[in-house]
Amino acid sequence: MSTLTALKDVTFERNLSFRKLKGKIFEILAFFAILLGIAMLLTLLVDVFLDGLPWLSTRLFTEFPSRFPEKAGLRSALQGSIWLMFLTALMAIPVGVGAGIYLEEFAPQNRITRFIEINVANLAGVPSIIYGLLGLGLFVRQLGLGRTLIAGAMTMALLVLPIIIVTTREAIRAVPNSIRQAALAIGATDWEVSRDHVLVYSAPAILTGVILAMSRAIGETAPLITIGALTYIAFDPKGPFDIFTVLPIQIFNWVSLPQPAFHGLAAAGIIILLIVLLSMNALAIWLRNRLTIHW
């Protein structure tokens, strides 16, 4: 009987309900932390849309930048961004996917492989502006490419390479070993296994990673400013060896100007940038959900 009375200890019971209350308060607090993050996101989006909507017009797509906000557009910046993404993808995708295949399918378990792996992990943590300094020193000066699209694209390609390598490896790792063994058993070489089986099955996931990497690149500003991409370009870039500007740099330039009208233009530019990013992300999610094979 004495044990039962001990369990019905009043102070313990009161204490327990207090302890549970503390837990409940904490849970609500923790939930609010997430809500605060989401609220901040919504505030940012609403703020940008309210600022930018009055300035959003087709003129943005047809006009070059100008000293007069009513005449200014994003024509050269948008074309620069498209060129830059195209050239970056051209270099980064084959190299990144290739390196991913090597590390996951071919690489022997040795020091060199481990070194490369640590290297890739470390590169992912290097600030983007450092890539800009690399591009400035190596591509712009040493290779003498100048402040051209190709120098910018090479810099960007190096920047997104770790992302592509990591996502490619994850995609490839998800393909079960039985697939490889089945192909090897009927006499395929390791390259044929990769090309005809592993890559085919992991292609949607790789593509998802590539799209996400490119969406990172399209919003990057700092490395391109460092290599010397200009803010005022009043002609259409014609090829990889033309000087250029891109959308986020033009936005940066407009934000930096004191006149409120340019801030409105900047917000309009941000809306366009966010729509592009959102479409890329939606495409990536769609690809992941629709095409990825679940084993």
Partner: protein, 306 residues
């Protein structure tokens, strides 16, 4: 069935073997590009940094309290830039650490699977927004509010950049911490419940300490991201390198200085050109050390429970 017939042909076998070797060599070279990138970064930074230190003494660089390389009377004390960088980063961590940690605990300990699936991707969007957008938001939304609250706030100030950066880093802090919390084995939680602990007590006194190394790794990664962040501070924090701890004042970070010089037309051989590499070298070294520490912490904590 055609493949079977083909592969019986020895000529074909040789061709396939050659193709295999070429691809292996080529992809190996691709993998080496990453090593080349690191080597290139170190080489380019060191090259100009060495030239810089031929003109400026390393003691002045690390002890002088003025940074005025673009003025007539040039002083090369990097401390004000480091001060600005750390001030903004510290402010960002004040936002990102409590919120990120709370979010991580909620997602790993409290949220249902369905809730997690909705909340996490929304939170991740914060990390996907280009930093130039955060810069816009800091300068044109957060700063006016700060100036209403504290009238002495300067137009360009560390605080607004810190707040925007804090929310940008929040998902990183949250997701790396959450991974660490989720990796704590269920048996530890069950043992804690068996001793009569509530869910809150279990989460904070058992799970969190068990995941502490992972949380520490998340913290270091977040700091490293904060000190390397460029566009937010270039837009919102100003261009006045000074030794101050007042977040309402205009400061300049190391990254913002690099942007400032890059925007001007800096001649190749000038001292200003060399300064951005010297500052970049210091920034690279700082983030490298932090990334390495976080790498080893994560590695150790992973081994603990596997």
């Amino acid at each position: 069935m055609t493949t079977t017939i083909h592969s019986l042909n020895p000529q074909n076998h040789l061709k396939r073997d050659r193709e295999r070797k070429i691809v292996r060599a080529l992809t190996f070279i691709f993998a080496l590009v990453s090593v080349g990138t690191t080597a290139g970064i170190i080489y380019e930074l060191l090259k100009e940094t060495v030239l810089f230190f031929q003109e400026v003494s390393i003691i002045e660089f690390f002890t002088d309290t003025r940074w005025t390389p673009l003025f007539a009377s040039k002083r090369f004390g990097v401390l004000p830039l480091v001060n600005g960088t750390l001030l903004v980063a510290a402010g960002a961590m004040l936002v990102a650490v409590p919120l990120g940690l709370l979010a991580a605990i909620f997602l790993s300990e409290y949220a249902s699977e369905r809730m997690r699936k909705v909340l996490k991707p929304i939170l991740e969007v914060l990390a996907g927004i280009p930093t130039v957008v955060y810069g816009y938001f800091a300068l044109l939304f957060i700063t006016p509010i700060l100036r209403d609250l504290f009238p002495e706030t300067q137009i360009f100030n560390a605080a607004s950049a810190s707040i925007a950066m804090g929310f940008m880093i929040l998902p990183l802090m949250a997701s790396v911490s959450e991974d660490a919390l989720s990796a704590v084995p269920r048996s530890l939680r069950e043992a804690s419940y068996a001793l009569g602990a509530t869910k809150f007590e279990t989460a904070v006194q058992v799970v969190l300490p068990a995941a502490l190394s992972g949380v520490a790794a998340a913290f270091i990664l977040a700091v490293s991201r904060a000190i390397g962040e460029t566009m937010i501070v270039a837009i919102a924090a100003g261009q006045q390198p000074k030794l101050t701890l007042n977040p309402l004042q205009s400061i300049e970070t190391m990254t913002a200085y690099i942007v400032q010089v890059s925007l001007g037309d800096t001649p190749h051989q000038s001292i200003a050109y060399k300064t951005i590499f010297a500052v970049g070298m210091l920034l690279f070294a700082m983030t490298l050390v932090m990334n390495i520490i976080s790498y080893f912490i994560t590695k150790r904590f992973r081994e603990k429970y596997e």
